[in-house]
């Protein structure tokens, strides 16, 4: 009996707690992705590189002496104009073609290549790691958790709640949802659709950048870091339902738990294929995902 308790305490429970941290991290990256898809119908293949951009912004600003807490605010603000410009200057150019899906996907794929190589040009190929802003750890029911990870869970939950509030409970969010549901109708009701689109893209990209700042102390910073999350983030978005915020949260928590358990009981190598397999099955039986699209139903 005591062995089972010990096993739970030392192995299973920490594993699930770690899964929770990972889940929050994935949700933070996937939130922006799902908003961009839900509203603009654009698969942002460069989303991982925007996540990296946030981390590199934080790295550069920390080097000139700005504190971490300020960066949490400053970096997303810096990302907003970047996202806005990218949407207006690049995505809008192919947005109205018949093959919107394919062409925006290709465009953002090209953009991702350029961004990743640019990081290597500016920062070199080697990794950096910002100091963890909160050191030490806490014991929850005798399970050790580093304080920064606890902080990440709390801040992550706050960000998710804030995003859900903005999208579902504010006038701004209502305009966004209206534009997602019926572009022409929204435009005729006086919604500045152009700005809403660019703004939503900027918002999604800023969320990716914020995730970059938050996760850099744990996952370190290097040019190809954007590839880390991208398959998992896409999976979460698809399983949750493209464009659904609740879907991203539920799918993110669920899939990261599945990954953690698979890693423990089968093999860590299988955690990626298993999660991917879930995505495939989901697409085959319920392509709209768990929760369906933003602005629809």
């Amino acid at each position: 009996m005591s062995e089972a308790v010990q096993y739970f305490q030392f192995v299973l429970a920490p594993q699930m707690l770690i899964g929770l941290v990972l889940g929050v991290a994935v949700i933070l990256v996937a939130l922006g992705l799902t908003i961009i898809f839900g509203l603009l119908d654009v698969i942002n293949m460069s989303h991982g590189e925007f996540y990296a951009l946030g981390a590199f912004f934080a790295l550069a600003l920390a080097q000139i002496g700005l504190p971490f807490w300020l960066l949490l605010l400053l970096v997303p603000l810096l990302m907003l104009p970047v996202g806005y410009i990218v949407e207006r200057a690049l995505i809008q150019r192919v947005f109205h073609s018949g093959d919107r899906h394919v062409r925006t996907l290709l465009l953002t794929f090209g953009l991702g290549l350029v961004m990743e190589d640019s990081y290597r040009l500016v920062f070199g190929p080697n990794p950096y790691r910002p100091e963890t802003p909160i050191t030490g750890g806490v014991e929850i029911f005798d399970i050790f958790l580093p304080s920064y990870r606890l902080f990440l869970i709390i801040v992550g939950a706050a960000i998710i709640a804030a995003v859900a509030f903005i999208v579902y409970r504010t006038r701004l969010g209502a305009m966004v949802r209206a534009a997602a549901f019926d572009r022409d109708m929204a435009a005729s009701l006086g919604v500045p659709v152009q700005h809403v689109y660019a703004g939503a893209f900027a918002f999604g990209v800023a969320l990716a950048g914020l995730a970059g700042v938050l996760l850099a102390p744990i996952y370190s910073v290097f040019p190809t870091m954007g590839r880390d999350f991208i398959l998992m983030a896409f999976t979460v978005v698809i399983v949750g339902g493209m464009g659904s915020i609740a879907g991203v949260v539920v799918a993110g928590l669920l899939l990261s738990q599945i990954q953690a358990i698979v890693a423990l009981y089968i093999s860590p190598v299988w955690s990626d294929p298993v999660v991917f397999g879930i995505m495939v099955v989901m697409l085959m039986v319920r392509p709209q995902g768990l929760f369906g699209r933003l602005g629809h139903g």
Partner: protein
């Protein structure tokens, strides 16, 4: 008007004449190395090491009066690209000798190209035992230490330092990572260590904390890992975050902690020990001069990749001077059994498998610097010759 044209023409002609004369005189060494992609950091060290040695040799009159010319191609750490670029270097640039390959897959594949082109390749980085073992080639040499040499040295130190140590193993889940772990495990068990368990994480894992439960439950004294690059940064800093580094000795492969990632790992790297063929600390005049010159030229410390690459130029120089030719067969004969001086001390190329023998060191990170804590002689570390092709 006409005179200007004549002058221009004359200048052009003499320039071409000069450059052809120059080209005929140089010995060309092709460098097929990753300048972009995953291993760009290693490629940079390779480049720095080769350039420094070339500058020195050229300043002293080159090889048999001929200057060395390095010709680079970016292999992108992709064997398919490395092979294409190797062919370009052999067939278009007409290089006499090739080096620079980093990942083992690229070295093996480019070795084949060298065989077909009847030229020689020397790697200064790849450490898969098979390159000078079961997959050896008469046209491929290795001047750096292979994985076997590294684990032998480290296991010998462990047996002395912590007899009957309880060891846990954590490797990246791909063939090279697994074979590095199993090689060290075998070497360590032979000298009395006890294995508590092993876990393999996918290459490029984000989060290693999901394995910490198993490690904590096993209560090891020593953790051996063969992860490398960004993965090491994550593994070590996450272990530090979770307070796992207390009362635990970290051991690893030579590529686990290098000058590319040591800064990013920071304090979490303290106490890490590994078996390598090089440390900036090696106390001999050649090394002291080398480290000073390297730092002056590149504003960075040399690591084992940079140093092995630096040493290669001198090996090639010695071989060509011994052979009195750059002819492949003659240089191959001259390289076999060659003993030459490097910052790492004397190295000898074993004729039977083209593997360089050298003193191996165990180094430990102390205040962010690798310090030598133990030595194993070249003969003891190299292991049997398993190459049967020549």
């Amino acid at each position: 008007m006409k005179t200007t044209r004549t002058i221009l023409l004359a200048a052009l002609l003499s320039a071409t004449a000069l450059s052809t004369a120059y080209a005929a005189d140089t010995i060309k060494i092709g460098v097929d190395t990753p300048l972009s992609g995953t291993y760009a950091g290693i490629g940079q060290q390779v480049k720095w090491g080769l350039e420094l040695a070339t500058k020195e040799v050229n300043a002293k009159g080159g090889i048999m009066g001929r200057q060395i010319e390095l010709i680079y191609e970016d292999s992108e750490a992709n064997p398919a690209v490395a092979v294409q670029k190797a062919e370009k270097l052999f067939e278009v640039s007409k290089v006499d000798f090739l080096t620079g390959t980093v990942n083992s897959g690229a070295t093996l594949a480019v070795g084949q190209v060298a065989e077909r082109a009847k030229k020689l390749l020397a790697t200064t980085v790849s450490f898969a035992d098979s390159i000078t073992g079961e997959k050896c080639s008469p046209n491929v040499f290795r001047v750096n230490a292979k994985a076997g040499q590294q684990s032998t040295a480290l296991a010998a130190w462990l047996a002395k330092e912590k007899p009957k140590a309880k060891v846990f193993f954590l490797g990246p889940d791909y063939l090279m990572g697994r074979s590095t772990v199993s090689a060290f495990k075998e070497a360590a068990e032979k000298v009395g260590a006890k294995s508590l368990g092993e876990v393999y994480a996918p290459l490029g894992s984000k989060d290693y904390s999901q394995y910490f439960g198993q490690i904590r439950a096993a209560q090891p004294q020593v953790l051996y890992t063969s992860v490398a690059g960004n993965d090491t940064v994550r593994l070590f800093t996450q272990m530090q975050e979770f307070g796992l580094l207390k009362n635990l000795t970290l051991l690893g492969a030579s590529g686990t902690v290098t000058s590319q990632n040591i800064a990013a790992i920071g304090k979490a790297a303290e106490g890490f020990a590994t078996g390598v063929g090089y440390s900036t600390e090696i106390d001999n005049p050649v090394n002291k001069a080398f480290v000073a010159a390297f730092k002056a030229a590149n504003k960075a410390d040399p690591d084992l990749y940079g140093t092995d690459s630096y040493g290669l130029i001198y090996a090639y120089k010695a071989a060509v001077e011994k052979a009195k030719s750059t002819d492949t067969d003659k240089v191959r004969t001259a390289l076999r059994g060659l003993t030459w001086s490097t910052p790492q001390g004397e190295k000898t190329i074993r004729a039977g498998d083209h593997q360089a023998m050298q003193t191996m060191y165990v180094v430990q990170v102390t205040n962010g610097q690798f310090k030598i804590i133990s030595k194993v002689s070249g003969e003891d570390a190299i292991g049997p010759d398993t190459c049967t092709r020549f």
